[in-house]
């Protein structure tokens, strides 16, 4: 258990360091990062000053190790826009993104999991075709377009909900519905596939043969066994939860990480971009490790 946990944490740390290295290399190999940070009209003197201030006059390898050293101390430098600690700027946006992500994951799960289960039970009938349709169409539509269409319908055509903003419950509805619709496709598909496979298993025939009621066959025997692949898939989908939220935020003016990241990228605020990458990657790695623990709760046969 402890050994397994240690292994997962080490793997997670390696993943985070690799991701940050990619961002570091992209920035440093693609030209002069100082030029990227300053407007194109900046004078050569200003460029030189900033270069020395940030240590960009040193060789790449040295800068890389200094960068890793600062990352280890959770120091990502100052935001170029606001002159505050980049990590602080990013952290204060985390809550809004987590709110959006988890509300959406919750909504999508309470609709998608039952939909997938019933589609598998009533295979090749109306409900199943509906579920398959939802999952195929849902995979084919970009999340930002769902957002635009919902605004068009409920913000413009029938103006019942605010098209953007943050604060009240009303503001939460459109963004959460958007991200849920986006997640619904994957959750329904995974649940349905997993249930279809489980329902073919012979131990269910045995259960029926010994007289277990059909409801109990599904509820007690099938769902519990189908849940393991579902949870695995959901943990792999976790990055889509964050990814979907990030895109949707920019449309609804939701003050989360995504909105910040898009602004920082256009403003070339490189410390903020790096800090955001770090925070999101850590969050996803931790969430995936957490899911491994949920496994043991569902299935006592798996001992970590």
């Amino acid at each position: 258990m402890v050994a397994y946990l240690a292994k997962r944490i080490v793997q997670g740390l390696i993943a985070i360091v690799l991701v940050l290295s990619v961002v570091f290399l992209a920035l440093n190999l693609s030209g002069d990062p100082v030029r990227l940070m300053l407007p194109s009209t900046a004078s050569d003197v200003a460029v030189q000053e900033l270069r020395q201030a940030y240590g960009f006059d040193r060789p790449l390898a040295i800068r890389y190790f200094l960068f890793l050293g600062r990352v280890a101390r959770l120091d990502f430098g100052e935001s170029i826009g606001s002159r505050r600690s980049a990590l602080a700027v990013v952290t204060e946006r985390l809550l809004a993104t987590v709110q959006l992500a988890f509300s959406s994951l919750f909504l999508a799960s309470i609709i998608g999991i039952p939909l997938g289960v019933f589609a598998a039970i009533y295979r090749a009938r109306g409900l199943d075709f509906f579920a398959v349709g939802v999952s195929v169409i849902g995979q084919s539509v970009p999340v930002f377009w769902i957002a635009l269409i919902l605004i068009l319908l409920f913000g413009v055509r029938w103006p019942v909900l605010p098209p953007s903003g943050y604060g009240s419950l009303k503001h939460l509805i459109l963004p959460v519905v958007t991200v849920s619709l986006f997640l619904l496709a994957g959750i329904t598909r995974v649940t349905r596939t997993s249930m279809v496979e489980t329902l073919d298993k012979q131990y269910l025939t045995t259960a029926r043969a010994k007289g277990v009621k059909e409801f109990n066959v599904v509820a007690k025997h099938a769902i519990r066994n189908a849940a393991i692949p579902i949870v695995t898939q959901l943990s792999l989908q976790f990055r889509f939860v964050i990814g979907g939220s990030v895109v949707v935020e920019t449309i609804f003016g939701w003050p989360g990480l995504g909105q910040l990241l898009a602004q920082a990228a256009t403003a070339r605020d490189y410390p903020v971009v790096t800090a955001a990458v770090f925070l999101v990657a850590s969050f996803i790695v931790l969430a995936n490790i957490f899911v491994d623990f949920v496994y043991t709760l569902i299935n006592p046969r798996i001992a970590l």
Partner: protein, 304 residues
């Protein structure tokens, strides 16, 4: 290995031709049994033809006409030209811009999938067959890329290397190869204990020969399925980056770029929101339907 008599070149070519044509006939006779799959093939063909012939459309995609700004869709506009999808804020015809943008989507999707497929298949073969340290290194890189949502990594890299046509293709290819690598690796792991690989090794075939002559043909089906399904995802990813303003430069019309502009006109011009999105959906849905069919055609076990 070879027959008693060396077959002549023309005979071999004839055999090959017969093999391919009967394979295609078999494919299409099965594909056209399902109405939705048949429709997807026809739709994709029509979209590709329309996008390829965009230059012959009677209207100029770049000609601005501020008097004709934001015209709603109509069969014939004031000058007697078709205006099926209306005009954009600068008075440019939306239909022809969407055709041109669709072509960009197809080209970007195609090129980035080509990169992802070559890199991912090669790394997947190596990781699966060699195992050990090679496998560990490749899988840690896969982990790292899975620790971030695509948009976050995309925004971070584009923020650093700048937005240009080829940079976007690079970013998409760079993030897309992991799907290929994971699936091919899984397939190779189960194949490499099979007798035909062991006998190849026993007669002294080199690693290169085993990988290219024996394993590569075996993973062809899974790779083809992944290409089709990934194409749709790449097109959505490109649209997402362009929508967020970190994709293809705005001088080139893209579906994501048009949708980004549409945000300002949500309250006055629904057609700029609806038509590019529907095009995107039709395109990606076709690829996904065909991909799902290919998966059943080759091997129903694969779950992409």
């Amino acid at each position: 290995m070879r027959g008693p008599k060396q077959a002549s070149f023309t005979e071999k070519a004839k055999d090959r031709y017969r093999e391919i044509s009967s394979g295609l006939a078999n494919y299409f006779s099965r594909a056209f049994k399902y109405r939705a799959v048949a429709a997807a093939h026809v739709a994709l063909l029509l979209i590709i033809i329309a996008a390829a012939l965009a230059d012959f459309y009677p209207l100029d995609p770049f000609e601005q006409d501020l008097m004709g700004s934001l015209n709603p869709p109509e069969i014939r506009n004031a000058e007697g030209f078709p205006g099926l999808m209306g005009t954009d804020p600068l008075g440019r015809d939306l239909a022809v811009r969407i055709l041109l943008a669709t072509r960009i989507s197809l080209v970007v999707g195609g090129l980035s999938v080509a990169i992802a497929c070559v890199v991912g298949t090669a790394l997947g073969l190596l990781a699966g067959y060699l195992g050990g340290i090679v496998d560990a290194v490749i899988m840690r890189i896969v982990d790292a890329l899975l620790a971030l949502p695509f948009v976050v990594l995309g925004i971070a890299i584009v923020a650093a290397i700048g937005r240009s046509f080829f940079n976007i293709i690079f970013v998409l290819g760079f993030t897309g190869w992991i799907t290929f690598a994971k699936l091919v690796r899984g397939q190779v792991l189960s194949l490499k204990e099979e007798a035909f690989i062991e006998s190849a090794r026993a007669v002294g075939s080199s690693v290169t020969r085993i990988l290219t002559r024996h394993l590569l043909p075996q993973v062809g089906g899974i790779v083809l399925v992944t290409i089709t399904l990934t194409l749709g995802q790449m097109i959505i990813s490109e649209a997402t980056l362009s929508f967020l303003g970190v994709g293809i430069p705005p001088s080139i019309p893209t579906l994501g770029g048009i949708l980004n502009d549409s945000q300002t006109y949500l309250f006055s011009a629904w057609w700029i929101v609806v038509f590019p999105g529907l095009t995107l959906m039709a395109l990606v849905l076709s690829f996904n339907m065909i991909g799902r069919f290919l998966r059943d055609y080759f091997d129903p076990q694969i779950d992409v």
